[in-house]
Subunit: 310 residues, 2 copies
Amino acid sequence: MGANVSVEQLEQGILSGDLRALARAATLVESQTDTGREIVTALFAKTGRALMIGITGPPGAGKSTLVDQLAKLLRREGKTVGIIAVDPSSPFSRGAILGDRIRMQDHHADPGVFIRSMASRGRLGGIARATLDLALLLDAAGRDVVLIETVGVGQDEVEIAHLADIIVLVLVPGSGDDVQALKAGIMEIADIFAINKADFPGADRLEQEIRAMQSLADSPGRANAAPVRRVIATEGEGVPDLLAVIRSEFEKAGRRGARVETWKFRLREMLRESLLTSMPDDLIEQHANRVAGKLEDPYTAVASLKAVLV
Amino acid sequence: MGANVSVEQLEQGILSGDLRALARAATLVESQTDTGREIVTALFAKTGRALMIGITGPPGAGKSTLVDQLAKLLRREGKTVGIIAVDPSSPFSRGAILGDRIRMQDHHADPGVFIRSMASRGRLGGIARATLDLALLLDAAGRDVVLIETVGVGQDEVEIAHLADIIVLVLVPGSGDDVQALKAGIMEIADIFAINKADFPGADRLEQEIRAMQSLADSPGRANAAPVRRVIATEGEGVPDLLAVIRSEFEKAGRRGARVETWKFRLREMLRESLLTSMPDDLIEQHANRVAGKLEDPYTAVASLKAVLV
């Protein structure tokens, strides 16, 4: 595929299952180019078929291993899989890239598994949009299941987790982070709790803590408490059961991308991102100079900047 | 102090050291009210005196204990202290509020320590601005040192950490999160590394990992690697030395709030926040409806929304 391939060519290639076209488009989307946006726009009507599963949890919970086991299981069923591993961090984290390489070796012979790692190089907010676009792209490309793996610790990650239809929060016993110490936002959005390394001491206690927290919470949106399942991801133990629960929760909850609330949130974030791009940098710099020199207060500066746009 | 106190009265109260006026204003700022913004605007010219120290790191690293020890040490020197504990999570996290109560008991008899916990109840981005406003308020109120404690895991927290003049990243040996697993963004902005629980096994290994990471990194902005110090926060061990290093790094780096770069970043975030507030919710809902029904793609929706503002 040449360098000057058009959006239409990529679109056709993706829809006809051409993996090179998909890889090419994924790179354009990931690096947040205009062409990437055009491809997503063109393919948007073709989305809404894939089951999007979010796998989130603290570092070291075994998310990648679980994602790999789910991918293997899905492949045995004949399903095609897309994996997006999100690492909302800077170029510093070579771990993610290394992990990706290792994974690639595992699945590289299988065109039924398409893997991409995303590292946030741009500014805040950009990564969630790029992840959404990549997920939509994989959906349009006909992947049956898209697995989105992200470290569930900050607001960013909560946002990314919101892209999935079903969110699995992976926790491990005796990790020092007890349930209380975990970021609360991520606890609330979990559709399913997966206790990984369930053969480790403390699995019972962790389950009790999760149950206690669920009984404390008044989540008006959730009629029943999120199911808790135990797995040993390294052995694949409990993974078929987890997948079954994911599917039954998905049947109850429906598709997130078909909900108005989802798109209100997403459009708001995209708008915010887009508005800032249109603000001339030198104007911001002028005001920043004045504020740093205490010639102007920040709220007055923002009001002036806003007046330029509106 | 009555309910209908004016901005001017609060301003005068804060400048004259009235703690009730400060507490009142802090609540207005924290809940992101217009009056809160007016107070910060009015007091902005009086800021720029306090040393702002950011204490960040993963959950369980002992940040609160370290903050308390630093506060005690500063009080012994006769310095006044403001503490802002940021917990960027949802109403769920009762841990933070409980922790705050316990702390309050420790310092409640001492008017020289003013403590506030912030929990993000609003939308993304708001908490960083509210934290900045609270820090500016404490600065204007004449606090010599403001300690900003935040969990250093997501982009949000990186943003909050940027409010401080000097950022101390607290890590503990053998926590399972090794340095690689940590969010890279936070590693890069650390001015000082504090190895807490330095009597635990693995402290040497952790220091080696930090050093290895520093030698790998090419941070053009930093001429010398960030100093690494060991503390045992529960005992206060190493805390005086840490404070000395904080001060010497501050002398080298200067005041963050006096830098144009800082204000470019902050104004951008404030502007983004402010622009979204002016977007009518029903208009977003209309487009969200169309996108959820696949009658419109998200980028076209954002373009239409943008046209309303600009």
